[in-house]
Symmetry: C2
Subunit: 340 residues, 2 copies
DNA sequence: ATTTTTCTTGCTCGCGCGAGCAAATGTGGA
DNA sequence: TCCACATTTGCTCGCGCGAGCAAGAAAAAT
């Protein structure tokens, strides 16, 4: 009776129930739901009909317990003010799900909390942990690796030399060199670097690369200012302080930002608070190419990370049980727009 | 030897190991990790010392299997172009984690996929499913409730009359009435409504409310235009088409948007493509009060949902096993800014 | 028709933990 | 000291499934 109504919160139907209904053994039922298992088309059919009728689906907790593979990855993210995080989450969850991975999303509040979040994930016995954020410096990683078992620790969108850690990131040195050269060739000569949160061990190489490039070509190091979070509003505050401290004649002619979130904040300040024009009075560059970068308010010259390619690589790495220590860099593309 | 080095991917340490090390039974070890369990301070201490030394943490899969509570909720989200989703995810994951819930994030691509996502979640035996998105119309919900077991089905930020479904949302009728009255009192007389994706059963009441208000007061129904996704870029395209189809004298004096994502797209078009001023030539209102609404490029008059309050309510509902059918509406606050 | 090979099925055992009860231990009062 | 009672501990059994093997069935080869 396919139309038989079941109560909305029915008792658990298990493989045994289906087995009885289909006239096979429990193991045949479970085999029917595994793609690798050997099962005759006939009994597969019988099982599926019975399962459909009873509303049976295998319990992934039990499967995971028995097989020691959870098909679960934890995604630890910290920095929700940064619009790029939304893009990364979308891409990651979409592609991971396509490949059969479920995603445990963990919002890590601060550096201390990152440790707890890692423990949390380990209790779910996830097959891998993907870290996206600024809090995961070498200490946190080291602790994670020392004390707990993770099959894989993947640092995404940030490179890490840590052993036993997989990192998948854009080549910051190459990218920022390209950006610096662009800024240089466009004739800008008084740059200011707007950097994101810096920790001794977990930061991007963009600032160093830019400053070195400039030092090499002009024998002076531009000023750089640090914003303690990738938050456009916070970047606006810091940029305002910095720029208003300088006299009008002492303003930079370009602000090179560690990413788009900072660049957007800086843009807002320059246009709306200082009443200056971009790029005529001050130019701006960003990094990431978030969707808003193309917005008419910003038209940001920026650097696009090959996100899809990076995520596709990530799922490949996930599938390979041997792979657990590598540092893969990707090359993106400079996107020249109006802002510089 | 606390400093003894373990290999990074050690063998699984289980409660039995800790039991031997602590000189107690396995059950005492597990009790030590449950807050409700009765255990003497002495053996708790012994267990914790041994567990710490061995790096033991209970396996939540097994606990869940045995206790039939997973402490897991699935979060089904579809519409990643909408910046409000980032805010909701942040708030939800933060507060849920604080209350001991882990979150399975599922990116549902389209309406068909929503069904698969639901099945997926049911296989992990989540304690609740939280739906945030436009794809979860009554059909999808009905199917979910009919065919599969979910302890709770929670529709968030959208109200649902569906039985056996908990919905937590802002009172769209009240909110939009307030907005309409505001627009009315500010003297606008030629409104255009910019609506989001409409389905017969799963949409917001904002459009109907606004149109009815206007019909009641002015005996004509303003035009309304539908954008098929809450995507600023798409909204910009549609707004551009609509506005350029009209003659300059026939332009609306205010565009009332179903949410901020649409309002931002419309704003961009009006200012940058049409070269008009906001609010002088055309005013704009939004809904949600996303962080960008306060940005100098938008200064959007909008309606703020009491998101934290709503999420706090959600975790309360989660904790109560009896609660599984209610429709709770919250009242937010009109945020007048520059755009209208 | 018989044997060999291949495929399919059933089964034992274990994954790590919790519910719930029984035994053991502890506490206090008469 | 002894007993009634409360607290703590250990234990049996089961949650639902998978690995891996052995038995059975089917297909292929002789």
């Amino acid at each position: 009776m396919p139309n038989e109504k079941r109560p909305p919160f029915a008792e658990n139907v298990t493989a045994d129930d289906v087995a009885i209904a289909a006239g096979v053994s429990r193991w045949t039922v479970n085999r029917a739901f595994r793609k690798d298992a050997s099962i005759s088309p006939k009994s597969l059919q019988k099982v599926m009909v019975a399962a459909e009728r009873l509303g049976y689906l295998p319990d992934l907790r039990a499967a995971s317990l028995a097989s020691d593979r959870s098909n679960l990855v934890a995604l630890l993210i910290d920095d929700f003010a940064n619009p790029h995080k939304l893009v990364m989450m979308e891409r990651l969850t979409r592609i991971l799900r396509r490949e059969g991975w479920d995603v445990l999303l963990v919002n890590t509040l601060d550096r201390d909390d990152a440790g707890h979040a890692l423990l949390n994930a380990s209790q779910r016995r996830v097959d891998a942990v993907i870290l996206i954020g600024i809090q995961f410096d070498d200490d946190v990683l080291e602790t994670a690796l020392q004390a707990r078992r993770f099959r894989k620790l993947i640092v995404f969108a940030r490179s890490s030399e840590n052993p036993n850690t997989i990192s998948i990131a854009v080549d910051d040195v190459g990218a920022m060199t390209e950006l610096a050269r662009y800024v240089h060739q466009r004739g800008y000569r008084r740059p200011l670097f707007l950097a994101g949160p810096q920790s001794h061990s977990a930061h991007l190489l963009r600032k160093e690369t830019f400053l070195e490039y400039w030092g090499k070509h002009f024998s002076f190091q531009p000023e750089s200012v640090t914003v303690p979070a990738y938050d456009p509003a916070l970047a606006a505050t810091i940029a305002m302080e910095t720029l208003s401290r300088r006299g009008p004649s002492d303003l930079p002619d370009v602000i090179v930002c560690e990413n788009d979130a900072l660049a957007m904040g800086a843009t807002d300040v320059i246009r709306h608070k200082l009443g200056l024009e971009i790029p005529k009075d001050i130019a701006i560059t960003g990094f990431d190419d978030v969707p808003q970068a193309d917005n008419p308010n910003y038209r940001l010259t920026t650097y696009r990370q090959p996100l899809t390619e990076m995520v596709e690589y990530l799922v490949k790495v996930l599938a390979d049980p041997e792979e657990r220590d590598l540092n893969r860099l990707f090359t993106g593309r400079l996107i020249p727009r109006h802002s510089a």
